[in-house]
């Protein structure tokens, strides 16, 4: 658990972070979102003491971070930044092994861990372990960046616009990957982004920041349904809130289940049970159909969702 209590950070005369209070529960993904210069990166960098805070208290698992050795603190916090920050003179494997080596793990344990993490992040160890960062694509390099952060199994993950420099398709893939990994490893994560869609997709709770203050700290659904101010309302998009809410809802919640699963009819478009309601609506609209079949991960048809139900659910 990370607690920020009345934390302020000044750069000379300017106040970058203005008396914020924020509690991040163990295992949740807290996304700090806001335009550039709103203080979100500053907040993140204060948590691992890359920046000292001017006033207030920051507690990690109840302990004041100013009483801890900064290096020890950081070794227990994975850190991922935009543009990866991979060391160019180290191979992929050596980069991932950075923190375990700092912690002086035995070699066999490090090798096993590197192998495990590369597999977890869908990087073929055989093909990529001995490459240098410049020989990777942007998406692969950022996967290595995430693997490096997870290497010593830290309790906390700090991510500073990690996918900001990637193209839309790669970014989308990595976001899905992150959701998958988060389900497996359950790290307490602080994630900074300026992209509200990314925030809505990844967060368990979002903190909207502007001019050094936290305007609203709530679940994605509550932020969409009940924005606390005009700024938040504009940020989430006043007009297409309906569709964004649908993106948050899974098909599973609105479908009508069959009594028994069956093979889907060939040639008919289907949605998966954990796809978003928004995707189901899109298919229904495009095909002019009244309903669309829902399949599970094994490809068995387990139910269907109707246009009428989708429209109700989105409200």
């Amino acid at each position: 658990m990370i607690e920020l209590k009345n934390v302020t950070r000044r750069f000379g005369e300017t106040v970058a972070v203005d008396n914020i209070n924020l509690t991040i529960e163990t295992g949740e993904v807290c996304v700090l979102v806001g335009s550039s210069g709103c203080g979100k990166s500053t907040t993140l960098r204060m948590i691992n003491r890359l920046l000292p805070h001017s006033e207030g208290e920051i507690l990690v698992d109840g302990e004041d971070i100013t009483t801890m050795n900064p290096e020890q603190l950081r070794l227990n916090m994975g850190y991922v930044i935009q543009g990866t920050g991979l060391f160019p003179h180290w191979t992929v494997a050596r980069n991932i092994a950075m923190v375990p080596r700092l912690l002086k793990w035995p070699k066999e344990r490090i090798d096993a861990r590197v192998h495990e993490l590369m597999t977890l992040l869908d990087l073929d160890p055989q093909a990529h372990a001995h490459k240098y960062p410049q020989q990777l694509s942007g998406g692969q390099a950022q996967r290595v960046g995430v693997a490096r952060a997870l290497a010593a199994d830290p309790n906390i993950l700090l991510m500073d616009e990690p996918f900001g420099a990637l193209d839309a398709i790669t970014r989308e893939n990595l976001q899905l990957e992150m959701l998958r990994i988060q389900r497996q490893v359950r790290k307490t994560t602080v994630f900074v982004t300026h992209d509200i869609d990314e925030a809505l997709k990844l967060a368990t709770r979002i903190a909207v920041m502007d001019q050094g203050r936290i305007l609203q700290h709530d679940t994605p659904e509550n932020i969409l349904r009940d924005p606390s101010s005009e700024f938040v309302e504009n940020l989430v998009g006043k007009q297409d809130r309906g569709l964004k809410l649908m993106s948050l809802q899974s098909v599973r919640k609105v479908m009508t289940a069959h009594r028994d699963s069956r093979h889907p009819e060939p040639g008919v478009d289907t949605v998966r049970e954990d796809d978003s309601a928004r995707l189901a609506l899109s298919i229904v609209l495009w095909q002019g159909a009244e309903q669309v079949p829902v399949v599970n991960a094994d490809g068995q048809e387990i139910g269907f969702v109707t246009r009428e139900r989708l429209m109700q659910g989105g409200a």
Binding site: M77, I81, G85
Partner: protein, 395 residues
């Protein structure tokens, strides 16, 4: 870098080697190949290729050059390997031509007569070396083969010059007239140049570190080392004489150590002062060019500043630092020759003696090894820097 298929390169006729070969052919026939002097000072009579070597020798030279030209434009597989063999062997055997020349023209009854090398021979040597470099470039040879060639060529030349056939050569005469002096000059020269480079490398490293840590020091330090570089070298040597003599007469300990107004002490100090600028600049630039985002990532992962320095900044900076050492070493080897003026010894002493006695061959005896040392240092340090490049070229 896109690398075309190697067969494609090999099939295209080479343009550099024919050009160099034709130039060599022309110059070797036009210029004097060797000179016969009745004694050390009097300028002698020149001999062209035909007269110097007779028709067999002239024919061999012409055929080898023509052969190299033909090979380089022929569409033969492995022609660059053949060229490497031909040119390498010619270079290794080049002193034999001087032996033939001396054997044909040196009067047997004149003990002071000597043969000396003409412009034609120098041009042949130079152009053949350029052709060899071109061939090595085309073959994309590794460093080890280049090093092997260097050792093989130097070894062959050393053997031939040590042999009996070339003792009439004026360079060899000057060498033999000074038994032990040449080795001594070599050691003094190397000790002065390398000593200055190592001391200034340590100093520069410290200064550059200071500059990266406290930016307020950047301008004064850079201004000081740049100022040192602007004083003419002779002036520095001269300027150091007075304070050092005063010091050594005031403290007999210094005198006992051999520190006087002239000699190695002022030379070493001046060489260090000169070496500081390239060293400090390269080290500082190399250390500051390591992207701060990388340091930030490392720090954020829990590295201490010391770990960041040794695992990130230093390895990334090393090739550029070595580049600074390379520039400085070449410069110091050249400047050490000038330091002979204040009695520091080294190859410069031959040069200045030769100038004083109007004996050009003695000048060459000092100048040629200086050039050779500089080239050798250049080659070795370039190889070192290349092998330290942290990452392979991107595929």
């Amino acid at each position: 870098m896109s690398v075309p298929h190697s067969g494609f390169i090999a099939d295209r006729p080479n343009r550099v080697i024919p050009a160099l070969g034709l130039l060599a052919l022309a110059l070797v026939w036009i210029l004097d190949f060797g000179v016969i002097q009745p004694n050390r000072i009097v300028s002698g009579t020149g001999h062209g290729l035909w007269s110097a070597l007779g028709w067999p020798g002239a024919a061999v030279v012409t055929v080898v050059l023509a052969g190299a030209i033909l090979l380089s434009i022929a569409r033969i597989p492995k022609r660059y390997l053949l060229l490497l063999g031909l040119i390498g062997a010619s270079l290794a055997a080049l002193p034999l031509l001087l032996e033939v020349f001396a054997g044909r023209h040196l009067p047997a009854d004149a003990p002071y007569a000597r043969s000396s090398i003409g412009a034609g021979f120098w041009c042949l040597l130079f152009l053949l070396s350029l052709m060899l470099i071109e061939v090595l470039g085309r073959l994309r040879t590794g460093h080890w083969l280049q090093l092997f060639l260097l050792v093989a060529l130097s070894g062959s030349w050393l053997l031939l010059f040590r042999g009996d056939g070339l003792e009439s050569l004026s360079l060899v005469r000057e060498f033999s007239a000074r038994p032990g002096k040449f080795e001594q000059a070599l050691y003094t020269h190397l000790a002065l140049a390398l000593g200055a480079v190592s001391i200034s490398a340590c100093l520069a490293f410290g200064l550059a570190l200071k500059m990266t840590r406290s930016p307020a020091w950047q301008r004064p330090i850079l201004a000081l080392v740049s100022f040192l570089q602007t004083i003419p070298s002779l002036a520095v040597f001269g300027l150091l004489i007075a304070p050092l003599s005063a010091l050594s007469s005031a403290f007999p300990v210094l005198q006992a150590m051999g520190i006087r107004g002239i000699g190695w002490a002022p030379a070493l100090l001046a060489l260090i002062a000169y070496s500081l600028l390239p060293m400090v600049r390269n080290t500082f630039v190399a250390l500051t060019e390591v992207p701060e985002s990388l340091a930030d990532a490392g720090r954020g992962m829990g590295m201490t500043e010391k770990q960041l320095f040794f695992q990130l900044r230093l390895p990334l900076a090393l090739p550029v630092i070595i580049e600074g050492v390379r520039i400085t070493t070449i410069q110091a080897i050249g400047l050490t020759a000038v330091a002979a003026l204040i009695g520091a010894g080294g190859f410069g002493s031959f040069i200045f003696q030769g100038l004083g006695q109007a004996a050009m061959d003695l000048v060459l005896l000092g100048a040629l090894p200086t050039i050779a040392l500089a080239l050798l240092a250049d080659a070795l340090l370039t190889m070192l820097a290349a092998s330290l490049k942290p990452t392979p070229a991107t595929a």
